[in-house]
């Protein structure tokens, strides 16, 4: 009892990472306890206010500051005439004069409207504001350059690189590519100037102590502020202490140290008091960077079949007249699509504006808009589906870096997205979808962003009281850094959430780089994990060197940390708390540090996150209003450390995207050079009412709390690989007679004999493990036959009364081996919920080998290495066969083209029937036996209703490996949290169900909303849908009433539709509790879908396992498909009998 309990809690601490944990700082945030930069209450603080230039170009002739100086409370008025000389801060050594021109209040030159020209320091904020108003300025004004169109003639080649690439890049021959094209797109795209507009304004509090200074700053980069302030004032970096505990949004504009920071420090030094400087929203439009306006020209050439023959992406963006920044819009175009002929070219136009900067995915945002719009134009010209066009031009390797991708689930993103969103309902003809006033459109686009990482450090301390603290100078911009670092530390240290504290945002802590470019989770997360491990190692040292410890003498790899204890892996009853270990050793704490370094020089992969966006847009045809009504985003971002914060990031990114696409636009007066809409009343970002339901799918499947066996095998192998171990895979490939497991059952065996999964009821495992260890040693593959009929039972010592012949394929797994690739394929199938078939050679006659030709003989290939060769097929594209993984096998069969084609046919049959099978092929003198194994798409169960009784049903279904979606028809609940284990949770009104879901023939629906009206709507929607099972909770009379009501509202159901309705739901097992009801419902679904009667097996005469082969017609088919399948099945029968 106590053991099982312990293992339960262990499981919990183990899977902390990935869980949708609430923000650990959430309470502080909503109670006002989170202290932002401007909120540090320092004694004797003075307030500074900056005065902005009202002209955009010219010089200051004179200041009259006399009235300001005399105003109440004023301590100091600073202009370029009396400001201290501040030193330029170089961001790179080649910058030259630009760095000097960035220093504020050093000269009378005005480069842009809103530029700081004076600062007032006073006792109170109001006094400072008032005095600033009293300063009189006269200017020598010049007409500003404020219009990109007018200035385009002066466009120049950027001095700096464009996102690491030359401003002019060329690959192949674009002219030749365009000549070879059947279709061509030439389009110009413009994106406006945009501003970051975080909620929290930029704010700095500066407090000097001698020649040391503490700076409280709203920043994405504490160490950057430290460096910059030290340089400005010519003091050592150690003298600068920067604190930033919380950042209220940033989106790029707080990654750079802007002029107000050194000015606050200068003011504090001048008045010899702490000074607070909070910039005004209007000033943020001028002085903190922005996304530059762009004009982009995209030329695409393509063959009739959609293959791109040329991509040209060129254009201009603006920079300031005193400094240089390039909005790298051509960046994603370098690598996104496969095309031999590519050209990119960017130019800059200098305007009298502040210098632009990184903003919300610099380059991708502006550039992808142009590239993806051009692709849509091309799809239209070629009469191709936009997704199809993108699939045709899918880049299998990085065309620019010429490297393989680390991971790329882009095709899956398209597929899952299309399914989630209901892309099939899109009509390609423009304006063909209408709804009342509205024209309805559906669109999609590819998402891509590079994986960025920076060196960073962390420290983890385990304290005597059994708690721990993780520290790094990194930042939480509202993204969830506190939370994910807590999760990482907890998981590594085996501690519950409450016992781990995370301290960040302070340059007294180990160094972290800028929290930008989506780098923090990966960079700092790795450091925290490393530091936690280092601290743990010290604890282990203390324990195992101590004779009094139960862990005495154990080596580090024999010990695990969980629940605040160290324990022996082999015997977890031998354990000891962190507190005991430290107390006995007389240590108050142990500390570990870790510096994460990334070796980008020896880059072997190109790493990017990929994804796909889908939007449904309504345009009012009379009034032109654009409304987004549905949105789905599917992303391959690797492992989500916290499902909740990860999804929030995606959702937030999408909302920013909607803002930029529809509303956000900074308007610069072309004559005056002044930003007209410099506040949030006129610079529009979306409000809640503008944001539709957004479905987020993250394509990852780590640490599923309840996983099915296949997933467990896949995960176990991933772990073995990660630690560099070896393993073998055992797969049941055929069964004659009766046996506990069916073909396709799998078991992973590691070199030390550990197993995951099972191939029998326990009788074959022991022997199989022995064989498995042999194949690991010899690195081979073989098929072992177990005959459990008659007397041989005794040999295998089984008690289950199996009576049959079981053949098991055993194969050693190593990188690139057939088994490893098969597992990879299985993993992909599970991850993206698709079906697949793997064809495996389980016997290859000599004759074939002899005919294979010289090449194989040279490589020494023989019969045994041929066994285990694989050819995977997946649900949609059999093309998989011709791409890499199955290549080996196809080559081997190539002299026998005819069987090659038959194998493919048979694979398709297996896929459609959903049943594993073996087939023998004879060609020439050779004989090859192939096992077709089917990975079934997890059964999609949709549970409508999110009351407490849904939970057991969801749990049970997941144990069976089903894919569970919970639909809550009422928005009032925190459904996401309550049903965290469900694969997806959707909020949706009952009447919108069919619009929101793609219900397929294998969909199983259970209605349990407990709401009469919702149930009526759901029945109206679900019965006519293709769903194979519709169960509804409640007594028969209620269902009759529901149906009567549905009919009264105009619905009409066929007998076939009514036959799918199960009500009352479940089989008769006397179920009472929600758990029992779940059992009865799940059993009924399983029986109904498999065409079984759900009676007692003892009353059944036929064998338990259905022996129907693929030759019998599979249950549910559309007419056409059905007939075709039958035909193919017949030909299989002929093929295998010959």
């Amino acid at each position: 009892m106590s053991v099982s309990q312990q293992s339960k809690t262990t499981n919990q601490t183990k899977s902390v990472v990935g869980r949708p944990l609430d923000r650990v700082d959430g309470r502080l945030k909503v109670t006002g306890g989170a202290r932002f930069a401007a909120e540090w209450p320092l004694e004797n603080m003075a307030h500074a206010v900056l005065l902005s230039s009202t002209i955009a170009n010219g010089r200051i002739k004179s200041f009259d500051t006399s009235a300001a100086e005399k105003a109440p409370g004023v301590l100091h008025v600073m202009t370029h005439e009396n400001a201290p000389r501040l030193k330029p801060v170089f961001t790179n050594p080649a910058e030259g004069d630009a760095a000097g021109r960035r220093v504020p209040l050093q000269s009378p030159v005005v480069y842009y409207a809103g530029q700081y020209i004076a600062m007032v320091v006073a006792e109170t904020l109001e006094q400072a504001k008032h005095a600033a108003e009293l300063i009189r300025v006269t200017y020598d004004e010049q007409p500003p350059a404020a219009d990109l169109d007018k200035e385009r003639g002066k466009a120049y080649v950027p001095k700096q690189k464009v996102a690491g690439k030359p401003a002019d890049s060329l690959r192949g021959d674009v002219d030749a590519g365009l000549r070879a094209a059947d279709a061509r797109v030439d389009e110009t795209y413009r994106t406006p100037t945009e501003h970051h507009n975080p909620m929290e304004p930029h704010a700095t509090i500066a407090a000097w102590d001698g020649d040391k200074i503490t700076v409280y700053d709203a920043t994405q980069y504490t160490y950057g502020v430290r460096h910059s302030v030290a340089m400005s004032f010519g003091i050592p970096e150690e003298n600068v202490h920067v604190v930033c505990k919380f950042t209220g949004g940033a989106f790029g504009c707080k990654g750079t140290v802007w002029a107000h920071v050194p000015l606050a420090a200068a003011a504090a030094r001048q008045v010899r008091r702490p000074v607070k400087l909070v910039t005004m929203r209007q000033q943020m439009f001028a002085n903190m960077g922005h996304r530059a306006e762009t004009e982009q020209h995209v030329t695409l050439g393509a063959k009739r079949d959609g293959h791109l023959t040329a991509i040209i992406h060129e254009g201009i963006s603006h920079t300031s007249v005193y400094d240089e920044y390039v909005e790298p819009f051509s960046k994603p175009t370098h690598m996104l699509y496969a095309c031999d002929n590519f050209k990119a070219s960017q130019r800059l136009v200098a305007l009298n504006v502040g210098t632009p900067t990184f903003m919300r995915a610099p380059g991708e945002t502006s550039g992808m808009f142009a590239l993806e719009s051009a692709l849509d134009e091309l799809a239209y010209k070629l009469n191709l589906d936009p997704i199809q066009l993108r699939l045709i031009n899918h880049a299998d390797t990085d065309p620019d870096e010429k490297l393989p991708w680390s991971t790329k689930l882009l095709k899956e993103s398209y597929r899952v997205g299309a399914e989630t969103f209901g892309w099939s309902r899109r009509k390609p003809q423009p304006a063909s979808m209408r709804e009342g006033h509205y024209l309805v459109g559906m669109g999609m686009a590819t998402a891509v962003y590079p994986v960025n990482h920076f060196p960073s450090s962390a420290r983890v301390t385990i304290r005597q009281d059994g708690s721990a603290v993780a520290e790094s100078s990194t930042h939480d911009l509202g993204t969830g850094t506190y939370t994910i670092l807590t999760q990482i530390a907890c998981e590594t240290l085996g501690l519950p959430i409450e016992r781990v504290e995370v301290i960040i945002g302070d340059t007294n802590l180990p160094k972290a780089m800028v929290s930008g470019g989506s780098s923090t989770a990966m960079s700092v997360g790795t450091s925290v994990q490393g530091a936690a491990r280092a601290a743990l190692a010290k604890l282990v040292d203390a324990a195992h060197a101590d004779q009094r410890s139960p862990l005495y003498g154990a080596s580090a790899d024999q010990i695990v940390a969980r629940d605040g204890r160290l324990a022996l892996k082999s015997d977890t009853t031998k354990s000891e708390t962190f507190t005991d270990i430290l107390t006995r050793a007389g240590m108050k704490e142990v500390e570990g540090s870790y510096d994460t370094q990334f070796n980008d020089r020896e880059k072997k992969f190109s790493s990017h996150a990929f994804g796909a966006h889908f939007a449904e847009v309504r345009v009012d045809r009379d009034f032109g209003e654009v409304r987004i009504t549905r949105f789905a985003g599917v992303f391959d971002i690797g492992r989500a450390l916290n499902m909740k914060t990860a999804e929030s990031q995606m959702r937030g990114g999408i909302i920013m995207g909607l803002g930029m696409a529809l509303m956000e636009e900074t308007v610069l007066d072309a004559n005056l050079g002044i930003i007209v809409n410099r506040d949030l009343a006129e610079y529009h970002v979306p409000v809640h009412a503008d944001v539709p339901m957004i479905d987020i799918v993250l394509l990852e499947n780590f640490d599923e709390p309840l996983m099915n066996e296949l997933q467990a095998v896949v995960n176990a192998y991933a772990e073995v690989r990660a630690r560099g171990g070896r393993a073998a895979l055992a797969t049941v490939v055929s069964v004659v007679g009766s046996a506990y497991r069916r073909p396709g059952a799998r078991m992973l065996v590691t070199e030390d004999g550990q197993t995951v999964g099972a191939i029998s009821g326990g009788c074959l495992e022991r022997d199989a493990v022995e064989h498995a260890r042999q194949v690991i040693t010899s690195d081979t593959a073989c098929v072992v036959e177990y005959d459990t009929r008659g007397d041989e039972d005794i040999v295998w010592g089984l008690g289950l009364g199996c009576n049959g012949v079981v053949r098991v394929l055993l194969e050693s797994l190593h990188e690139g081996s057939g088994g490893a690739r098969a597992l990879q394929f299985v993993a992909d199938c599970l991850r993206v919920r698709k079906s697949g078939v793997i064809a495996t050679v389980i016997d290859a006659g000599r004759a074939i080998n002899q005919e294979r030709g010289a090449a194989d003989q040279e490589s020494g290939a023989d019969r045994s290495t041929k066994i285990g060769a694989r050819l995977p097929f997946d649900e949609r594209d059999d093309e998989h066969a011709s791409s890499a993984p199955g290549g080996l096998f196809v080559d081997a069969l190539s002299p026998f083209d005819e069987s090659g084609a038959r194998i493919r046919e048979d694979a398709r049959v297996a896929l459609t029937s959903g049943r594993a099978m073996t087939r023998v092929y004879e060609a020439g003198a050779g004989r090859t036996e192939i096992f077709f194994d089917v990975i079934c798409r997890p059964r999609p169960l949709v549970v409508f209703g999110a009351e407490h009784d849904a939970a057991p049903l969801i749990r049970l279904a997941q144990t069976l490996g089903w894919h569970v979606t919970v639909v809550d028809t009422r928005a009032r609940r925190a459904t996401r949290e309550r049903f965290a284990s469900a694969d997806s949770v959707v909020l949706c009104r009952a009447e919108d169900v069919t619009a929101r879901f793609t219900v397929t023939r294998d969909t199983v629906a259970v209605v349990m909303t407990h709401s009469y009206l919702d149930d009526v709507e759901l029945l109206r929607a679900l019965l006519p849908s293709p769903a194979c099972y519709v169960g509804i909770l409640g007594p028969k009379q209620r269902t009759e009433k529901l149906l009567a009501q549905a009919r009264a509202e105009g619905s009409w159901f066929t007998d076939a539709e009514l036959a799918r309705l199960h009500s009352p739901v479940g089989i008769d097992i006397g179920a009472e509790t929600p758990e029992e009801i779940a059992l009865s419902v799940v059993a009924e679904i399983k029986a109904a879908c498999d065409g079984r009667g759900a009676g007692f097996l003892r009353d059944r005469n036929a064998p338990i396992h259905d022996e129907r082969a693929a030759t019998t017609a599979p249950p549910e088919f559309e007419i056409g498909a059905h007939a075709a399948a039958r035909e193919r099945a017949t030909s299989v029968a002929c093929g295998s009998s010959s």
């Binding site: 008032h130 009034f623 409304r627 009343a681 409000v687």
Partner: protein, 286 residues
């Protein structure tokens, strides 16, 4: 540029009489403060010359919604939230309720008042078109007494009204429309809340057997003032509503409005949308 807050004075009078006395004794010096949703913005932006304010929020005389046989009377202090909660307004003046629901966001609706909206006199405000279409009258009070003026005459030019410096808005009176009248209100803007209208339309039509007995049409954001389109109305009044008369009205309204280009929209867009709004209002079936 910015306001120096300590230099402002705010007085809370006990009675309406005291408030009116302030206005009388120092004409032009005092500014009434209701919800403050317009005033505070101006104050922060440093665009207020006034240094003296008095609160009107505590004045019971300016509150409440009352029904009489021919009219519904709404106190100037009525907030947008109160407008939306009123049953009689929801039943008989749906355009006003709709306008209230589309004004700002929830916080603004809780705080902002109808009187403030009228006195602020923005040509882009959302309630005035509805008030115009309902043929509202406004009660102005001063220490000299009270007078009712037709709201259609109230706005005399950009941000100008016929209110005298010593007057306050006390109430708004709306004649009850006939049952079966057509009410059509539409705010057209970029985002769905917290956005100033690009164009705002309110139309009320009462028909007798297909013939227009009474029609009132008002538009926001297409002229220096919220505009009552009297010429377009006159063209329709007494005529059978059909494709021909509607077509004539569409031509007329294009001449009657004078939209401009600004940061929110263009004159062209506004003209076109105004026309489409009228078309929608006049579209069959009747």
């Amino acid at each position: 540029m910015r306001a120096y807050l300590p230099a402002y004075e705010l007085v809370v009078t006990r009675t309406l009489e005291d408030a009116l006395a302030l206005l009388r004794d120092e004409p032009g010096a005092w500014r009434p403060l209701a919800g403050g949703t317009d005033l505070m913005v101006l104050l922060e932006a440093g665009r207020l010359e006034h240094r003296k304010f008095f609160s009107v929020r505590q004045l019971a005389e300016l509150r409440g919604i009352e029904e009489s046989d021919g009219h519904v009377t709404i106190g100037a202090l009525t907030t947008y939230t109160e407008v939306q909660r009123s049953r009689v307004l929801a039943r008989e003046f749906p355009m006003l309720v709709r306008a209230a629901g589309e004004t700002g966001g929830v916080a603004i609706q809780n705080r902002g008042t109808l009187g403030g909206n009228i006195a602020n006199a923005s040509p882009a405000a959302d309630s005035p078109p509805a008030l115009l279409a309902y043929g509202a009258e406004v009660e102005l009070v001063s220490s000299r007494g009270s007078r009712w003026v037709a709201y259609a005459d109230f706005h005399t030019g950009y941000k100008q009204t016929l209110m005298q410096p010593d007057e306050l808005i006390a109430r708004v009176r709306l004649p009850r429309p006939r049952e079966g009248a057509r009410h059509f209100y539409r705010k057209v803007g970029t985002r769905r809340a917290q956005a100033i209208s690009k164009v705002c339309f309110a139309g009320l039509a009462e028909l007798d057997g297909g013939v227009v007995r009474e029609v009132r049409i008002a538009l926001g954001s297409v002229a220096p003032v919220v505009l009552r389109c009297r010429r377009t109305e006159a063209l329709l009044r007494g005529r059978r509503l059909d494709a021909e008369s509607a077509g004539a009205a569409l031509e007329e309204i294009a001449k009657e409005i004078a939209p401009i280009d600004d940061v929110r929209s263009t004159a062209r867009y506004r003209a076109r949308v105004a026309r489409n709004l009228l078309a929608e209002f006049l579209a069959p079936p009747f």
